[in-house]
């Protein structure tokens, strides 16, 4: 058996006395694509916010590569190899696409402010390297010709892609995608699906994604975790989930998939 990459155990959080998540548990192998699905308000984004340390959990723990993430801030969790995108796209709007990507490589550079201000060799060397990698990353997402455009001027679908490109710049072990296909048309979604698969194959990164577009979920996820009212109600391969009665009742609400 492969070593588990992500382990979420007995996870719970309360907001103002109300349990938003209760005893949530699931695991992920390296390089696996897992879908986190469930009706609106089931607590999917909250799971992301707990994994990335935006909120501390009220109970339970999360570990990455056997290392507990509890108590680490957002930034340290990022340094352990967790990158994410946001449901409501959080790009650096007035910065160029290239700069958005380069910000995420911040920690891979080591030159100090003085070296940067005086343009010493360390600046040129590291910037050239990161710029090359950032351009390559934009290329993968079909964004290289928009590298100098400000992020906010890009159409919606490209903004979503840029956000994924930015997340990948740090070379994460685990990538969290929060509704990557939201607002995309079917063609864009199709190409996003192949990009996600391509990203996994190329970078060997495990991907946990929240998505409402069932074609995407069923098409690329190898396993699914279904959340309802803050609890895991089902886990398994897409085929099994499709036939799971509780899921159909709670989530699909009878509509055929």
């Amino acid at each position: 058996m492969v070593d588990t990459l992500l382990e979420v155990n007995d996870l719970g959080i309360q907001f103002g006395g109300l349990a938003a998540l209760e005893r949530v548990a699931f695991g992920m192998e390296p390089g696996e694509i897992v879908g986190l699905i469930g009706p609106n308000g089931a607590g999917k984004t909250t799971v992301f916010n707990l994994i990335t340390g935006i909120y501390p959990p009220t109970s339970g723990w999360i570990s990455l590569d056997g290392k507990r993430l509890a108590g680490m801030g957002t930034r340290r969790i990022f340094q352990q190899g967790v990158a994410r995108t946001f449901q409501n796209i959080r790009l650096f709007k007035k910065m160029s696409a290239l700069d958005n990507a380069r910000v995420a490589a911040h920690n891979q550079m080591t030159y100090n402010p003085l070296t940067g201000a005086l343009r010493l060799p360390g600046y040129w060397r590291e910037e050239a390297d990161v710029t090359k990698r950032a351009m390559a990353m934009l290329e993968i997402f079909g964004l290289s010709e928009y590298a100098r455009e400000t992020a906010s001027s890009l159409p919606y679908g490209r903004q979503r892609r840029l956000e994924i490109a930015r997340a990948l710049m740090s070379g994460p072990k685990l990538l969290l995608l929060d509704e990557p296909a939201a607002g995309m048309n079917p063609t864009e979604t199709q190409s996003l699906m192949s990009t996600i698969r391509d990203v996994r194959d190329r970078f060997g990164v495990a991907i946990l994604l929240i998505e409402h577009d069932m074609r995407l979920v069923m098409g690329i996820c190898e396993r699914l975790v279904v959340l309802d009212y803050g609890q895991v109600i089902a886990r398994g391969a897409p085929g099994e989930i499709r036939r799971d009665e509780r899921v159909v009742k709670a989530y699909l609400g009878g509509s055929a998939v």
Binding site: F92, K94, R102, H106, G116, A117, L118, V130, R166
Partner: protein, 320 residues
């Protein structure tokens, strides 16, 4: 650096060299009256103030209302160095010490203040600025309200000009390094910045401290230009004047801040009869700018020779 960037760089460097040569020639040959020289020096000092405030207001996106206080700290520190240390090269040393003293004050204020955001940060910087002024007024070694006198008046135009070029260039290059990008990313979205591994607190304090450092250097120039210092020159009104410069120039634009600093220093002098209305006009300008062109005259864009053509082609479409 690609070819286009290199071409742009050369053009801008050439323009800067031309301006410098013209200015130094005009001053050197005595073509400029002492009065205009005074205005020039004030403009140069104000350029540093506006560009350094832009680090906090433009790059970091925080409203700071006590920038004049850092200038004051730098002015007094530099003045004391000049008065009490008679050593060779004491002027550059005094300026540097002024910058360092202001940076220390900036860090001391920034570390606690930057835990707050938005409105609260604005208020707390105002409060700190006023406290600094009151303390300066009550320190015997600074002469207090009776002013500090006997500062050597060694700020010449070439000296001030050189300092401005160095300071602005440093702030410019810093803004275009990984550190500048980190500061910008915090302005754009602090949560996203944190999830890109940006240590937000460190960069907020860095921006704040650097802004104070350069304000301190400007203060040193000011002290050695005036020869006399009074704490009340570094009050809230002055902080607001610098804020106006940054806002008019477009928050985030260095060239905008430079142009606004020169124009707002020279304009009241040119329109002497209107000088009583200066603050009235400033205040109206602030309100109107926010209502009709909140990104400032230049927005976050930089003014450059190569850029002009491009701007004309694109028109005003990229203002937002």
């Amino acid at each position: 650096m690609d070819a286009a960037a290199r071409k742009l760089w050369i053009m801008n460097a050439a323009a800067l060299a031309a301006v410098s040569a013209a200015l130094l020639l005009a001053v050197g040959t005595g073509m400029v009256s002492p009065y205009i020289q005074d205005v020039l020096i004030s403009s140069l000092i104000n350029i540093i103030m506006a560009v350094s405030l832009n680090l906090v207001c433009g790059l970091l996106g925080y409203l700071a209302l006590g920038h004049a206080a850092f200038m004051g700290v730098g002015a007094y520190a530099a003045a004391l160095v000049s008065i009490h240390w008679k050593v060779p090269l004491s002027f550059p040393l005094a300026l540097l010490m002024g910058g360092v003293a202001a940076a220390v004050a900036g860090a001391a204020i920034g570390v606690p203040a930057l835990r707050l955001k938005g409105d609260y940060l604005a208020i707390i910087t105002l409060g700190f600025g006023e406290i600094v002024r009151i303390i300066m007024n009550n320190m015997p070694i600074l002469g207090g309200a009776r002013s500090l006198r006997g500062i050597p008046r060694v700020t010449t135009i070439p000296a001030a000009y050189a300092v401005v070029v160095v300071c602005v260039a440093l702030m410019f290059t810093l803004g275009r390094s990984r550190h500048g990008r980190a500061i910008l990313s915090i302005r754009e979205d602090e949560v996203a910045a944190a999830s890109c591994g940006i240590p937000a607190t460190y960069y907020k304090i860095l921006a704040f401290t650097l802004a104070a450092f350069f304000a301190g250097i400007a203060g040193g120039l000011y002290a050695h230009n005036m020869g006399v210092l009074n704490p009340n020159r570094f009050n809230f009104d002055r902080s607001i004047e610098y804020l106006v410069m940054v806002v008019l120039g477009g928050m985030g634009s260095i060239t905008g801040a430079v142009i606004a600093a020169v124009v707002l220093t020279a304009l009241p002098e040119i329109l002497r009869p209107l000088s009583d209305y200066r603050m009235l006009i400033y205040s109206l300008a602030l309100i109107l700018m926010m209502l009709f062109r909140p990104d400032g005259l230049l927005g976050t864009a930089e003014f450059s020779l190569a850029g002009i053509a491009g701007r004309f082609r694109r028109g005003r479409g990229d203002g937002g």
